[in-house]
Amino acid sequence: MLDLAIMLAVLVCSFIIGYLLISRVPPLLHTPLMSMTNAVSAVTVIGALLLFAVETTGLEKALGVFALITATFNLVGGFTITDRMLRLFRSDEHHQ
């Protein structure tokens, strides 16, 4: 029961903090923001790894590996694209 309470608290708090922080991101960075949070949603890679933490059947292994591939694709792709995008943003006033 305590675990459940902690999980719900984590869910609600993370949502609220995320909401407050992201409300302050300027439109200039909305695309990179979405691209970055998209990469963060690849945190499902943790879930895919956890599938392998107990005994697995052949089918479960196959599905698990597929989940791993899509999640890491999302993770690596997302952060790399975001970085490429952010490298494009420049300002003469802020570049020394």
Binding site: V12, G18, L28, T31, M34, A39, V45, G64, I69
Partner: protein, 466 residues
């Protein structure tokens, strides 16, 4: 597992993620923020590997390597013009991972799940599958592989309700009768939720894409968070919830910028009816209020006489890949001593911030880009506005006409400037179907045709005769 130390370590990883996101408040630090967020995710993965005995390492590593290589290859090859379609595709990949995880958990550890974690798994399953299919449709529309016009079937809402009823029914069955038939119920939910995702997204048209793509951002995070509850993993919950929050913020910002509520956007969009009997011929380039012999001459004169210029880009600039020419023209005008600024409407383009990325690609200094609220007061004192591939976001009908699809939508006040040069493909109304009275105005100089060509001509003639 739930020792205080473990909790603190988890909190540290979450704080790291939040620190990364908070760096997105200013462009100078955003790149570092991205790296910090990536680090937070790496920490989360390492923690899971340390705490749990992950078996079948060769297989796991193969999967990770394959995903990494694929992700990296695609990420370095994608061009900025493909970014919206790519991001939608990745939302879909997130959805796939979520529903696969939920499927495996629901069908195997039938006894181990509590009602709450099982319920959460069912939500992860349905939301993940719907996110996947809806994202594929969105990605197809954004890549112009599917027609971007909204598609409404007969009984569209009826079909959606039917899908929802099936998911609820199968979900209850899965909740009450976990032992027998779990794989069948779970697979059924995946299939029907995927169908619902398609029904849901085909009805959203091109210019409403910023809302859809933001919404899918949120649901991908939500699906991850629900998987986290099923697996009782705090990090997965927290990271997923932060993403869900981010997508929700962007969804609301986009809706507000169109003065439409979310349900109306997703209920499908009916463009303003064309005047009775209006055939496509009706939209042949028509002459403006005062037809100049050569509109380019008038446009070049207006730009040369102007001391202050505001450029308003829209999706048409992206389509025509005109951003490079536009930035070249801006540089040219600036060197002639004029004040040149860019005004960007929040929903210009096909995703939040789309125009900013394209202009950054064309090497524009972001200090020259202004948001609607910051620049709208300046249009009245501006000599010339150059509209490139935008229509609805500068359509004064939003303010003057009651009851049309864009009534009440905040617009950029381009019509208040002394001259307005419009570089659009043709005189057809924008996505909303509402005729733009700006085109009839005496202030307007209309340059129909490919925006890249039109702006190139302006560059040549403004530069050549300077």
């Amino acid at each position: 597992m739930t020792t205080t130390l473990a909790l603190l370590v988890d909190l540290a990883a979450i704080v790291l993620l939040i620190a990364g996101i908070s760096m997105f408040r200013a462009p100078q630090r955003a790149r570092l923020g991205n790296l910090v967020a990536a680090l937070a995710l790496t920490v989360a993965v390492v923690l899971v590997l340390r705490r749990h005995n992950v078996t079948g390492l060769p297989l796991v590593l193969t999967g990770v390597a394959a995903g990494t290589i694929l992700g990296w290859i695609v990420a370095v090859r994608v061009t900025m013009i493909q970014i919206p379609a790519m991001i939608a595709f990745q939302h879909g990949a997130g959805g796939v991972a979520a529903f696969l995880i939920a499927f495996v958990e629901l069908t195997r550890s039938a006894g181990a799940l509590t009602p709450v974690t099982r319920f959460s798994g069912i939500l992860g399953l349905a939301i993940g599958a719907a996110t996947f299919s809806a994202s594929m449709v969105a990605s197809g529309k954004l890549a112009a592989k599917l027609r971007s016009a909204p598609v409404s079937l007969r009984f569209h809402n009826g079909w959606l309700w039917l899908c929802a009823a099936f998911i609820v029914g199968a979900g209850i069955a899965l909740l009450l009768e976990p032992a027998s038939g779990a794989p069948a119920y779970a697979a059924g939910i995946i299939i029907v939720a995927a169908a619902a995702g398609i029904l849901f997204s085909i009805r959203v048209g091109g210019a409403d894409m910023p809302v859809l793509i933001s919404f899918l951002n949120a649901t991908a995070g939500l699906a991850a968070a629900f998987c986290g509850v099923t697996l009782e993993n705090r990090l997965l919950i927290a990271f997923g919830a932060v993403v869900a929050a981010s997508g929700s913020v962007l969804t609301l910002v986009m809706c507000r910028a169109m003065n439409r509520d979310l349900l109306k956007v997703f209920a499908g969009f009916t463009p303003a009816a064309a005047p009775a009997g209006a055939a496509p011929e009706h939209h042949e380039p028509k002459s403006p209020g005062v037809p100049p012999e050569d509109p380019f001459l008038a446009a070049v004169d207006a730009l040369k006489e102007a001391e202050s210029v505001i450029i308003v880009p829209g999706y048409g600039m992206a389509l025509a890949k005109a951003q490079f020419k536009v930035v070249e023209l801006a540089g040219l005008l600036e060197r002639q001593g004029k004040q040149v600024r860019f005004a960007i409407h929040p929903v210009a383009g096909r995703m939040p911030g789309h125009m900013h990325v394209l202009l950054a690609e064309a090497d524009l200094d972001y200090e020259q880009i202004f948001d609607m609220a910051d620049i709208n007061g300046d249009f009245a004192s501006t000599d010339a506005v150059l509209v490139v591939g935008a229509c609805d976001v500068v359509n004064p009908a939003a303010m003057t006409v009651e009851g049309c699809p864009i009534s009440g939508m905040p617009i950029l006040l381009a019509h208040e400037a002394k001259r307005v040069i419009v570089c659009n493909l043709d005189s057809r109304p924008g996505y909303s179907g509402v005729e733009n009275p700006l085109y009839e105005s005496e202030k307007a100089v209309l340059l129909w045709g490919d925006a890249s060509d039109s702006v190139s001509q302006l560059v040549t003639r403004v530069g050549g005769e300077a």
